[in-house]
């Protein structure tokens, strides 16, 4: 390693296309890390919320009381998410249809299930948001880095052609500078790919839990509808 070769010096003295590539990669890396951290926060919050809600749901508490507990939170404009929002949507629809009267039990059940499915798909969308961005960063940044490297090496060989004495000292800085681009591409891509795989599996398990909960809740509502024949 020569005395003048330093990663910073190389980055600052790099040719314009390579610097541009490096800038793109740096922003991609920063944004993907923003997504990684934000997704992590969202998913852990969703899991925590789901566990807490399930505990309360199966604690034998009255369903209308559970619904009423959630209401002040919603009035305070705090977002209610995850499993609880599915429960609220389904229960609200169920109650409304029952109070109107004269509606058949099947129709009441159908309305509640439809409301829950809508809430479920909204929740799923919320969870999967930005995951595609991580996938894109993970698959594209190595190519961008490779592009920067190829351009840099091309430049260094072009400058080599004008030299009368071709030595390693002439080529080395250009190639080192070019390789920084590949390194940065990999630096951006590896966490993005890892996070994408991890988060998509977590989202899948969460949505599976939601679906199971919808079925369970629907069976509870079903029992309630058909066990009270006077309504």
């Amino acid at each position: 390693m020569g005395e003048s070769i330093n990663v910073w010096g190389l980055i600052l003295e790099a040719t314009v296309p390579v610097q541009l590539v490096m800038l793109i990669l740096l922003t991609a890396s920063v944004v993907s890390w923003v997504m990684i951290i934000q997704r992590w926060l969202v998913l852990t919050a969703a899991v925590r919320g789901m566990v807490g809600f399930e505990k309360r749901f199966w604690s034998g508490m009255d369903l209308s009381q559970l619904f009423r507990e959630g209401s002040p939170q919603q009035k305070e404009n705090a977002q209610v998410g995850g499993m609880e929002s599915i429960f609220r949507a389904g229960f609200k629809e169920f109650m409304r249809l029952r109070q109107q009267g004269g509606i058949e039990s099947d129709a009441v059940m159908g309305g509640a299930q439809r409301a829950m499915r809508v809430a479920y798909s909204r929740e799923e969308e919320k969870l999967e948001k930005n995951l595609t961005f991580l996938a894109t960063v993970g698959s594209v940044t190595p190519y961008i880095g490779l592009f920067g490297t190829v351009v840099g090496i091309m430049n260094s060989f072009i400058s080599l052609a004008s030299q009368s004495q071709a030595s390693l000292q002439v080529v080395a800085p250009g190639i080192a500078e070019a390789l920084i681009a590949t390194a940065m591409g990999l630096f951006a891509a590896i966490p993005a790919v890892v996070a994408y795989n991890r988060y998509s599996s977590r989202v899948e398990s969460l949505t599976n839990n939601y679906l199971t909960f919808i079925d369970e809740f629907a069976s509870i509502l079903h029992r309630q509808v058909y066990s009270s024949p006077n309504k």
Binding site: E3, V30, W33, V34, M35, G82
Partner: protein
């Protein structure tokens, strides 16, 4: 339970993460550059034997002076020889003249004798006549002999003169050849130096490697082509020498050279490339 949005926090965290990575990189690099002790490879010590052009010019001038002196001396010698020869000729002519005079005197004596004898003795007339004819014959013979001798001497002189002239010519030619050899050596040293300047030492080069190149040039000093006549046995070394000559491209030192000298020695020039400054 709320779904935490958390964008501001995650942005701050991501930027902090990248900043810390970059700062760490920066400090590691600095530490690296401080620690690294640059081990220089053993450098090839280039011993440039500086041939002073002034000194060379002086030497050429001295050579030229010496040549002039030699020519002067030769001319003097020539003149002396000429003078000697002329003197010799004159002496010969004098000798001839004196001989003729002698002969005439003899003839006169003989006539006087004959007249006296005619007067005195009729009988001795025949004898006298015989004597005279004999004398005449003898004289003639003598003259003929002398003539032959003279011719012989002249021929010898001529041969000598020719031999002398030939010797002189040979000496002249030798002198010329000597100065030419010196000039050629000087010029080839210049060419060798130039080639060595442009030569980059391949790692496989060793002392004692010799490659003979045939360089074809034109009087402007431009190199037309290079050819390896005798390889050193190391391909890289041969190639390096060849490309050094091609890199020189034009030996400007040859431009002012005498045309005849150039045609005879440098139009196709055999360069024995033998770098001396290798350490191993």
């Amino acid at each position: 339970m709320t779904v935490f949005n958390g964008y501001p926090l995650s942005i701050v965290l991501a930027v902090l993460l990248h900043g810390s990575v970059l700062v760490a990189l920066f400090f590691f690099q600095q530490a690296d550059t401080e620690v690294i002790d640059i081990v220089r490879p053993p450098a090839v010590k280039a011993l440039l034997v500086n041939e002073n052009p002034q000194a060379r010019n002086e030497r050429v001038l001295q050579q030229r002076q010496a040549q002039q002196e030699r020519q002067e001396r030769k001319r003097q010698e020539d003149a002396q020889a000429e003078r000697q020869r002329q003197e010799e000729q004159r002496r010969e002519q004098e000798q001839q003249a004196s001989e003729q005079r002698q002969q005439e005197q003899e003839r006169l004596q003989a006539e006087q004798q004959r007249v006296a004898q005619e007067k005195r003795q009729r009988e001795q007339q025949r004898e006298a006549e015989q004597q005279r004819t004999q004398q005449q014959r003898e004289a003639e013979q003598q003259r003929q002999r002398e003539l032959v001798a003279e011719q012989e001497r002249q021929r010898q002189e001529q041969a000598q003169a020719q031999a002398q002239a030939r010797a002189q010519q040979e000496a002249d030619a030798r002198e010329l050849a000597e100065t030419e050899v010196e000039l050629v050596m000087a010029y080839s040293a210049v060419i060798h130096d130039l080639v060595q300047q442009y030569w980059s030492r391949p790692p496989s080069a060793r002392n004692g490697m010799v490659v003979v190149l045939r360089i074809r040039m034109v009087p402007t000093g431009d190199v037309l082509d290079v050819e390896i006549v005798q390889s050193s046995g190391d391909f890289a070394f041969d190639r390096a020498a060849e490309s050094a000559v091609l890199k020189v491209n034009r030996f400007t030192e040859l431009q002012g050279m005498d045309r005849r000298l150039f045609d005879r020695n440098f139009r196709t020039f055999l360069l024995t490339f033998r770098p001396q400054d290798l350490l191993n």
